[in-house]
Symmetry: C2
Subunit: 377 residues, 2 copies
């Protein structure tokens, strides 16, 4: 059952330091200006823009902040759930309903402890109405099964399809990686539900008694990036692989993306996971990285601020402090550009396009920041 | 008119030093052994295997050598044409007829001086019958028009289509780059002829009085790599771009590949060639490199020696002493691996698959070599 944390400080406004100096950086197609919109966040993980251009930001330790559009002012959101803030777990992604203007629903993913004193944890998704700076009418609409004692691989990116389905990306929980190949659990899966938690009738396994009905695709390791292709409406995901083997996939209904049976990587420390990279009945990635860049969030760019980037897919990376731009043309992968490696020295957890057509990075540090990327003058 | 050079040394056998030590190198999917099969060539440019596994190698300065399959023995071929060995020009590519077993035709491309005392030069293609170590029945089957005073951008790769057409890739001659957009010349074109020099009836411009009938595709800069896709039969080309902007293209009949109207590069020295990378009516590359790797020869790998490389496209590079492996899957570009950067310190002009399924590199140095890549034990 939902147990909101009582947060006394939620109503206290806090002002933060914003780095005033912007840095201009040349990229292949655009000269950009990089500046800090807001900092002082503790390991921020996910962010989403509200229609008035203000921002909601999660901190992995459990808090969610509302941040004014210019970054100068923030308030803590009250009514957020208790999270298991251990290892890679905690308060994770956040997104708003496609009809937020009318219904005020906000969706969050987080690591949730087992109910009723049981052991373990897993990714849960809650929706709540945002009433000024307060969550109300909280409902848990999805719980990853089974709960399991691991602090790793929560997945957790949230993205709406054009038809209004909610996709939730779910990690393999690291030590349960073989579960990614079986359908009686939610480990290493992408699931698809309706925003109220109900199951779409055309989900691929609804008529299979041995498979969980929420499952959309399987054989994933730890999908932390997801977005909808702006023209095809397809789900694109970015999977944090083992050492060597980060992947972009375009998960289709009921298909198997291979983990851990096939991979282009080895496990951290160099252990061989699989000799195979290709197997009958398993899908190949759209694109993959060897060596790994430690992929995290991802977004298609659809704005007008950077015309030469329109339609490209941007992938944030943790290890190398970079953003990979995949230059796409008519569905083909034409070129990878690595952006900001020197300019941003931080683990980049998420990347989002703002309502202004600028790009916004979220740096996952003890002093994490929202970084704004806009055209240089 | 053809004027064979009288080569006294042609019949003299020369033995060469072969580096005995092989080096083992780990790549992403295969551990390979790299060794020198034969060296002591002066700027070798092109090579081709004969059915008995011996090799023909061109030297840009004008000679062609027959090399025994084990690399230990070589002889100069007599009856080769006079070439303009200046700048990037000279004796260039070489290939054999698909029916060589029956007809003994060998095809060579080279820089040919203007006839009858005129000025300038251009790429010509000759065929000749290989009679032991001698060219006979020499016929010039193609001459790039117009002849022009430039020592740069000859293109010159030769490749046969599955239907028996001969594709010839032709450079823009550097200072005539705008010609690549007009069809009354052969600058910056891929042409398609029959092996006797006649023009296929279904060439795209045969019914256009303002276009040369040999033209297959246009808007190219300097295509030095070409091969036929083993499954689709399509021509794939690799174009040495300006600074930033090397390209892989899949040239289709009559299409415009954009140079110099569109490019992802700038000219050497940093001058902007074009602000545009995309334009209506011009084709986008299949893949491109920024920064450039200085692409040269290319080959699809179809052998059994390296099963994980089957179907991949290998591109040799001059500047970075590397070979780029494009990991292809069902026509999609999934990953680029950069091979041999540390192991081979040389400009790599060409790459070929041997009849043994090994890969062979040709290093374009004053002491150039044939490098053999085979599986490590
Ligand atoms: Ca987001
Ligand atoms: Ca996979
Ligand atoms: Ca060749
Ligand atoms: Ca082009």
């Amino acid at each position: 059952m939902f147990n909101p944390k009582f947060v006394l400080t939620a109503m206290l406004a806090a002002s933060v330091s914003v780095t005033a100096t912007a840095e201009d950086v040349d990229t292949e197609r655009h000269k950009v200006s990089i500046s800090t919109l807001a900092d002082g966040f503790t390991n921020p993980w996910g962010m989403t823009f509200l229609p008035d251009k203000s921002i909601l930001v999660t901190e992995r330790s459990g808090d969610i902040y509302w941040v004014s559009a210019d970054g100068s002012y923030r308030e803590k959101i009250s009514g957020t759930p208790e999270v298991v803030a251990q290892g890679q777990g905690g308060m994770l992604d956040i997104t708003i309903d496609p009809d937020f203007d009318e219904n005020n629903w906000v969706y969050i993913s987080y690591s949730e402890a087992a109910q009723d004193g049981g052991k373990g944890n897993s990714t849960a998704v809650m929706r709540a109405k945002l009433d000024d700076k307060k969550f109300t009418e909280q409902e848990v609409i999805f719980r990853q099964a089974p709960k399991y004692e691991s602090n790793n691989h929560f997945g957790s990116r949230l993205v709406f399809s054009p038809e209004g389905h909610l996709y939730i990306t779910l990690g393999d929980r690291y030590s349960r990686m073989d579960d990614a190949q079986t359908l009686d659990n939610h480990h290493g899966k992408v699931v698809r539900i309706w925003p109220d938690g109900s199951i779409p009738e055309d989900n691929p396994f609804v008529n299979d008694d041995n498979a969980l009905d929420e499952i959309w695709s399987y054989g994933h390791r730890n999908v932390q990036g997801a977005d909808i292709h702006p023209e095809t409406g397809e789900l694109w995901t970015v999977e944090h692989g083992p050492q060597g083997g980060d992947e972009v996939n375009i998960p289709e209904a009921g298909k198997n993306y291979g983990w851990p049976e096939i991979t282009y990587g080895v496990d951290y420390g160099g252990a061989i996971i699989s000799e195979d990279a290709v197997k009958e009945g398993m899908e190949q990635p759209f694109y993959y990285w060897v060596p790994s860049i430690a992929t995290a969030g991802a977004t298609f760019y659809t704005g007008d601020a950077f015309p030469e980037w329109k339609g490209d897919f941007f992938v944030a990376a943790l290890k190398s402090s970079l953003v990979a731009r995949l230059d796409l043309y008519e569905g083909r992968m034409m070129h990878e550009e690595r952006l900001f490696e020197d300019a941003v020295e931080a683990r980049i957890r998420d990347i989002n396009q703002g309502p202004d057509g600028y790009l916004y990075l979220l740096t996952d540090q003890s002093d994490g920041a929202i970084i704004q990327i806009k055209p240089a003058d």
